[in-house]
Each structure stands twice: as C-alpha cells, then as structure tokens.
C-alpha cells in the first residue's frame, strides 16, 4: 500500500497549494533557461541568416555587432580578388528608433547589395527589394503591412515584402533596404548642414596664406566631396569557394592594413562570449537562487508534514514497520511534489512561451537536465524529514 499517496490524498489542500507554488517557481526557472537560449538564438540570428564565411571589419575591432566598425565600401573589390573568395558584399547595420502610434519603436536596419549577400533569407509575403531606392522589406515582428510607408532620414520607404522572425542581437525587429538607401539614412546630411560644412571648410582654407586661390578651390571641392560621401559600410562579408582554405584567406586579408577578417566561427564566439556571457551568468545565478528556494520549500513542507506525522510514524514503528516503509513514504512525497511541480511549470511555459516579449527557446536537453536537478533536489530535501522520522521512538505512539 502506498502510504505517500494516501497521505497526500488525505491532506490534499496543502500538497496541491505547495506544488502549484513550486510549479510556478520551476516555470520561471524553465522560462529563464529558455530566455537565455533565446538570447543566444537572437544574438546569432542575423549572423546566421547572412551565411557568410568571413566578416571583414575595421582593424582592431570585433565588429560589426559587438563593436562599431567602418570600412570603405570599395574594399569589397580587393576582398573579392583574394584567391578562394567566391563572393564579397558590403553590409550596413544601424539601429533606428522612430515614433509609431505615439510610442518609440526600435528596429535594426540592414542595408545590403541587392545582388549580394546579407539580404532577407525568406520572403513570407510580397517580394524582395527590386528598385535601388525607397523600397523596404520588414520582419514579421514589426507588424506592418505591404504598402505601408516609413519615413527615415530624408525620404519615405515603402514596404514591399515581409520576412521571417529574424531579430537583431538586441532582440529588435529587423528591416532591410538597399545599401545605398541605408548609407543615405545613416550618413546623408540635409542641405543646411551641407551648406554650413562647405562654408566652414572654405573659411578654414582661406586662412591658409600659402595656398593659391586655385589650390584653395580644388581642395575645398575635394574635402567637401569626402565629407559628403556616404560610401562607408560596417562590414564586407565574403563567401568562399568550395574547398578554399579559410585560414589562408584570413591570413591574406589581415596582412593588409586597416582590416580585420573574422571567420563565422570566431564571430559566433565573439557574440556568445562577449555579448551574452553576462546575461548567461546573471540568468544562471537567478536560476540557482530559485532552485535553492525550491529546495528550501520542499524541505520545509516535508519536514513539517513529518512533524505532523510523528505519532503515525511511531505507531508504524511500533507495529513493526520496516524503516524502508517510513523512508519510502517521506521520499515519495518529496519526489511527487518535485515531479508534479516540474510538469506544472513545464506545462505553464509551454502554454505561454510564445507570448513572452523576448524569444524563449525550450531545448530538450535543458529540460532534461532540469528534471534531473529537480529529482536530486527533491531527494535531498526529504533528508531532514527522513532523519527526523528515523529518530522517532516507537514508544512515542503511546499516550495522548
């Protein structure tokens, strides 16, 4: 006869309430694990959807996600000419905040070469960008429709397609425009600013006595052109030819000045180690704390329910019940509490995880590990109760 279940059935109120409470706690533990996995997945989403082998960024930086990086757009020609490189495309990344329905709304804008790498990996509705200007593809999570317009910089951009659930490393929705548009949005100054800059350059040059008027005019044109140029990108990504040696290609690019070629694998390491490591430790710490709280709750409940059963335990001992009968009763209650709470928590998250503001990724491995931890905690938590029970003397069954 299973004493554990019969006791629980008789005292169901306390058991159910405690187990639901524990279930909520374990639900939070599960969701935190899922949030961490989600952070990882989000952090790597743009990286992975680009499917590049090498990310060439500004020297001494780990860009373009972890640090800012700027390189000239035309470096793509040099990179493409490296033996082993099949394709090289410039990409521009920027975070943009606009006002939408009276609320700030942030998204991550990717500018890509329409014939190159880094564009939307799938189109769920509408079409790819075809015109060189003023067209836009947005992620589903931006919740915008085809034909809608967004005003960015100096122009309106029309949404022509909807892409999947790619998000930026910060979890923001992603939108795509042509590289030229992205550069305009990022760098192009309005006419007043241009006029001011030109005047300032003119004034400065006029102060230099040794320049002839012709030289001054020539310099002024050139400096203005450079300062108004938008042909800067954040990275040039490259895809290798089949069988090409990644190391050799990296080697060759890094020998040039001004560039840092990062392999996709290194890029993943930079993202996970650098950007989400802290989040991982933070979330990990919270999970440990919550698990400790769960252990304390189970211990407390099992201990108090053992205290309530002292007379029952003494009676069992008196009529000759083996220790395993008594240990079994306590241990099974503890395990039942832990296991049921685990499934309550799991069920809860399964029903709600899609409604969380950040992505939650439930990995079978994480869930299994947590299950084992819950079992271990339940067994450990029953220890105090069991120790108490084993100390009970059969004579305690006598008397009132």
């Amino acid at each position: 006869m299973n004493l554990a279940i019969r006791d629980i059935r008789y005292h169901r109120g306390r058991f159910i309430l405690t187990t639901i409470g524990l279930g909520l706690l374990l639900g939070v533990v599960i969701s935190m694990g899922g949030i961490y996995r989600g952070l990882s997945a989000d952090a790597l989403a743009v990286l992975e959807s680009t499917r590049a082998d090498i990310w060439v960024v500004q020297q001494d930086t780990n860009g373009p996600f972890a640090e800012s990086s700027r390189i000239p757009e035309d470096s793509k020609y040099r990179i493409k000419s490296v033996p082993g490189v099949a394709e090289a495309s410039p990409l521009s990344f920027q975070t943009i905040q606009i006002e939408r329905q009276g609320k700030p709304f942030r998204f991550f804008l990717i500018g890509y070469d329409l014939n190159g790498l880094g564009g939307p990996s799938e189109i769920l509705a509408g079409r790819d960008i075809r015109q060189k200007h003023y067209e836009m593809v947005v992620g589903k999570s931006m919740k915008m429709g085809i034909g809608e317009k967004i005003h960015l910089g100096l122009h309106d951009y029309t949404i022509v397609g909807i892409t999947g659930k790619v998000v930026s490393s910060g979890g923001d929705a992603v939108a795509y425009v042509s590289l030229a548009d992205a550069q305009d949005i990022q760098f192009k100054k309005d006419n007043d600013a241009i006029r001011n800059d030109r005047e300032r350059i003119g004034d400065n040059l006029a102060g230099i006595r040794i320049l002839s008027p012709v030289q001054t005019k020539y310099l002024k044109q050139n400096i203005a052109a450079i300062s108004e140029s938008t042909h800067t990108v954040n990275t040039v990504v490259a895809r290798l030819m089949p069988g090409a040696n990644l190391h050799e290609v990296q080697e060759r690019i890094s020998r040039w000045n001004h560039f840092h070629p990062i392999s996709a694998e290194e890029q993943i390491r930079i993202m996970t180690k650098g950007m989400i490591e802290k989040a991982r430790m933070q979330i990990g710490l919270f999970r440990v704390i919550l698990l400790v709280i769960s252990a304390v709750i189970i211990s407390l409940i099992i201990y108090t329910s053992t205290i309530d059963k002292i007379k029952v335990i003494a009676t069992l001992k008196l009529i000759g019940a083996q220790n395993r009968v008594i240990i079994g009763m306590i241990l099974q209650q503890s395990l039942l509490m832990g296991v049921i709470a685990y499934f309550i928590g799991y069920g809860l998250i399964l029903l709600t995880y899609e409604k969380f503001p950040r992505r939650i990724v439930l990995e079978a491995f994480d869930l299994q590990v947590l299950f084992v931890i819950v079992i271990v905690i339940s067994m450990g938590s029953s220890f105090v109760g069991i120790r108490k029970a084993l100390k009970v003397e059969p004579a305690e069954a006598l008397g009132g």
Binding site: Y10, L316, I319, G320, A321
Partner: protein
C-alpha cells in the same frame, strides 16, 4: 521443540529511568507468566508503572534488569538479547492496542488493518481478504472505507483490535484500551478481547486503572508503586 508453556514469561524485571539522583525505578523485580489464551489484567493507579511493564514486555522499552521471554524466544536478559530484530518480533508475535486508538488518520479502516498485514509480507490481495473478514467479524463491515475521523470511539477501538489481531500474534498488549470509551463501549471492548483470547489462543495482557472493567479476567495483578502483587 516441546510445547511452549507460556506466551509471556517475565522474571525479576526491573526498569529504572534515568541515572544517579534523578533515577526513577518504575518497575521493581516483577515476575509473571501468561499462558496462551489467558486474559490477564494489570490494575493500578496512574503512575504505578503499568505502562512501563507493558512496553518492556512489548519490546519498545529496554528492561534494566531481569528476563523477558516471548513465545519461547528470550528477548531480554539484563537488557536486550543482542542480535535480535525487535521490529520483526513485534510484527510477528505481538499486537498492540492503545488508549487512543492510534489508527493512521489518512488510511481507511480497511487500510489500517491491511498495513499491518502488508508490512508482514502479505500480498495486497490476501491482505484485503483477511482484513475485510476480520472487520466483518467485529461488526465493522459497513465501515471498511471510512477514515478514522468518521468512526465512533468504540468503532475506532474495534478497528485497532482488528489491526492488533491481524497477524494472529501470540501476545496482545493493551494499554488502557477502554479509557477513552464510555462504560458500555468499554465493557464491549473487554468482552471482545476475552472472546479473541479464547478463539485465537493468544495471551492478552490488559492494563487498566478501572477495576469495573476487569470482570471475567482469568487473572488480575495489582501494580502498586512499581511492585507487582498477585
């Protein structure tokens, strides 16, 4: 092995609680024998040492001096005989009945009897049959699935008697089994014990402080200040 003459043999049993100046001699030099099928009462005022004697015989209170033999097995000789499995002896040879019925509150009447059988290695099926029969024989057939809290005092005590009888023990020890009952129910319980002693050939030792309850007992011992008087 010859016929066992006594179910309980106690020889010069002394129980001293504590040590030194605080030592209390609860039972001094008690000697008694109970035959199978005999119904014996220990009568005495509160604090006289009745429970101490009963629990020393019942393998839950180690005697300080003297011998205890249960159903032919020497269990105590100047303290417990080493190497005995006291729990096993308790579940195979002894049945206990208490003042408070001591039923397990989260088990039904039937389960309270079954648990005694199951810990003694009876299968659930056999235990169900035996426990049901026992309870029916004690007129509790209509109470099988009730929890103790739903039983009257007399009913609960009869379930406790069924539990004590479940493994057909050679010895039944009852500590004030009628104290929580009214006179009529108390007398019924005593009559039931008498009947069981005869039917099962068990030795039954009943502790009570109520002399009205000891009618029809085979023998009565008086306990006074730790001394046993015939």
């Amino acid at each position: 092995m010859g016929e066992i003459k006594y179910a309980i043999e106690v020889e010069n049993l002394t129980k001293i609680y504590g040590k030194g100046v605080t030592a209390v001699t609860a039972i001094a030099d008690a000697t008694l024998q109970v035959k199978p099928g005999e119904l014996v009462a220990l009568l005495g005022p509160s604090g006289s040492g009745k429970t101490t004697l009963l629990t020393s015989i019942g393998l839950i209170n180690e005697p300080t001096h003297g011998k205890v033999v249960i159903d032919g097995t020497m269990v105590a000789d100047e303290g417990w005989v080493p190497g005995l499995d006291l729990k096993r002896l308790r579940r195979e040879k002894l049945g206990f009945i208490f003042q408070a019925h001591n039923l397990i509150p989260f088990l039904t009447a039937l389960e309270n009897v079954m648990i005694a059988l199951e810990i003694n290695h009876m299968t659930r099926k056999e235990a169900t049959v035996r426990a049901t029969e026992l309870l029916e024989s004690l007129n509790l057939g209509h109470r099988l699935y009730n929890y103790p809290s739903a039983l009257s005092g007399g009913e609960a005590q009869r379930v406790a008697i069924a539990r004590a009888m479940a493994n057909k023990p050679k010895v039944i020890l009852a500590d004030e089994p009628t104290a929580a009952l009214d006179t009529e129910n108390g007398k019924n319980v005593m009559a039931l014990l008498k009947k069981l002693a005869v039917e099962n050939n068990s030795a039954i030792l009943v502790v009570t402080h109520d002399h009205r309850m000891v009618e029809g007992f085979d023998r009565i011992f008086h306990v006074n200040d730790g001394r046993l008087v015939n």
